[in-house]
Amino acid sequence: MNEIMIETPLTDEVVKKLRVGDIVRINGYVYTARDAAHKRLVELISHNAPLPFDLKGQVIYYVGPTPPPPGKAIGSAGPTTSSRMDIYTPLLISLGLKGMIGKGQRSEDVIEAIKKYKAVYFLATGGAGALLSKHVVSSEELAFSELGTESIKKLLLKNFPVIVAIDCYGGDIFKR
């Protein structure tokens, strides 16, 4: 099957080329965040405090990896269920977040924000954490280290395999 190679950070131009069902390989830096980190990001935003990273054009990967064994960049690192982040996502997209990697369907509010601000939601294979960890070159903890696996980490991805699940035209792989 055809694969589209993309690099982060994402631009409108790249996002507009992606269509639901496309197989994509992501290269470059992405940021990890799940429930607890999202809650904190939104709290920082509400206090006009600086964020651990600039959201503009960036991709968030919903993942809480296992700890890296010696000599490895990361442990098992597959996606977690995205819908738990739905409540926080439209705000982040409105502030420049361009992409999300996770698993499972998203709410109508998230889909609307994806369309309005030209973003994209990628599906990675849940339960394939060993395979996906092979596509993570490095991992650096950026913030909230007290959250353990839920801290924000900056990951360098190489040919990370995903499928476009919701595109910027509102196409949704979960709707049939």
Binding site: M1, G21, I23, A36, V63, G64, P65, T66, P67, P68, P69, G75, S76, A77, G78, T80, T81, S83, K103, G104, Q105, L123, T125, G126, G127, A128, G129, A130, L131, L132, S133, K134, L147, G148, T149, P161, I163, A165, I173, F174, R176
Partner: protein, 280 residues
């Protein structure tokens, strides 16, 4: 009486956990291969990743999934086996603690569910179900259970008048609502009867049955078959993107219940249906 040593419990639990997170039971792997053969396009691509993932996990001893779960342990304790080293629960948790450290597993347990949600850092406590059995052995079945699928599970107290149709509708509704969230293809464990907590435990136990083995009661076996067909006609498919394989199996367990009750629990298991067992 036969003495059960703390050290044996600790080591057995540790090894079961370390094995369970890197390799699937053979029956689960086999049914995933069958699903792969049936699918096409993107759904096939997803199943091919799932199979490749198993290979990498077992060869490199990297967890199959980053969610190494909360360890659910069924302990079948022979009444002729005696434990003289204090609280047996402590030994089980120590096994978990050691596995998490040695295997670089994820600490996914928080101390209290509502207020602080502070991580216990060692993935304890595990969830233990003790049952007495005949004999002097202790059988331990350990299943790391991830939250992605556990969160999509449900329990409902039906009215007896809702009968078979009520049961089927509830199972289908639960699977439909779950969609792609619990990492399909899933295994669906259904517990019917007993009472509120009994049906939930039956549903969990149903997930530990060998994939594809039917209930010994013909009517319940038929119910499993019909539910599997109806679930696979939903076109949820691998990871929810559509396809023929939404469920790999439906396992139903039942128990006697009150004249006024029809409790039903649906416990959903992701494709990474990890469990291992051993006897001491």
């Amino acid at each position: 009486m036969r003495k059960i040593k703390r050290e044996d419990i600790v080591l057995t639990v540790k090894n079961l956990y370390l094995d369970a997170v890197v390799s699937l039971p053979e029956d689960v792997s086999a049914v995933l291969v069958k699903a792969y053969e049936k699918e096409k396009g993107l759904s096939k691509e997803i199943l091919s990743q799932i199979m490749e993932n198993q290979k990498i996990a077992s060869e490199e001893r990297v967890p199959l999934c980053q969610d190494t779960g909360v360890a659910v342990i069924f302990v079948y304790w022979g009444t002729q086996a005696i434990y003289e080293e204090g609280d047996p629960m402590e030994a089980f948790n120590e096994g978990i603690r050691l596995a998490v450290k040695e295997g670089y597993l994820r600490a996914s347990v928080v101390e209290d569910p509502v207020f602080e949600r502070k991580n216990t850092k060692d993935n304890t406590p595990c969830i233990l179900h003790f049952e007495p059995i005949n004999g002097d052995k202790v059988r331990i079945v350990l299943a790391p259970k991830g939250a992605g699928s556990e969160n999509m599970s449900a329990l409902r107290m039906l009215k007896p008048s809702q009968g078979l149709k009520g049961v089927k509708d509830f199972v289908i509704e639960t699977v439909k609502n779950a969609g792609g969230n619990p990492c399909p293809p899933i295994i669906v464990g259904v517990g019917i009867g007993g009472n509120f907590e009994k049906c939930a435990i039956l549903a969990k136990k149903a997930l530990l049955r060998k994939v594809g083995e039917s209930n010994k009661n013909f009517a319940y076996a038929q119910l499993e078959k019909e539910l599997l067909e109806e679930i696979n006609a939903l076109n949820i498919g691998p990871m929810g993107i559509g396809g023929k394989t939404t469920a790999l199996a439906v396992h139903v367990e039942y128990a006697p219940c009150h004249i006024a009750s029809l409790p039903v629990a649906v416990n959903i298991q992701c494709h990474s249906a990890r469990h291992k067992e051993a006897e001491i």
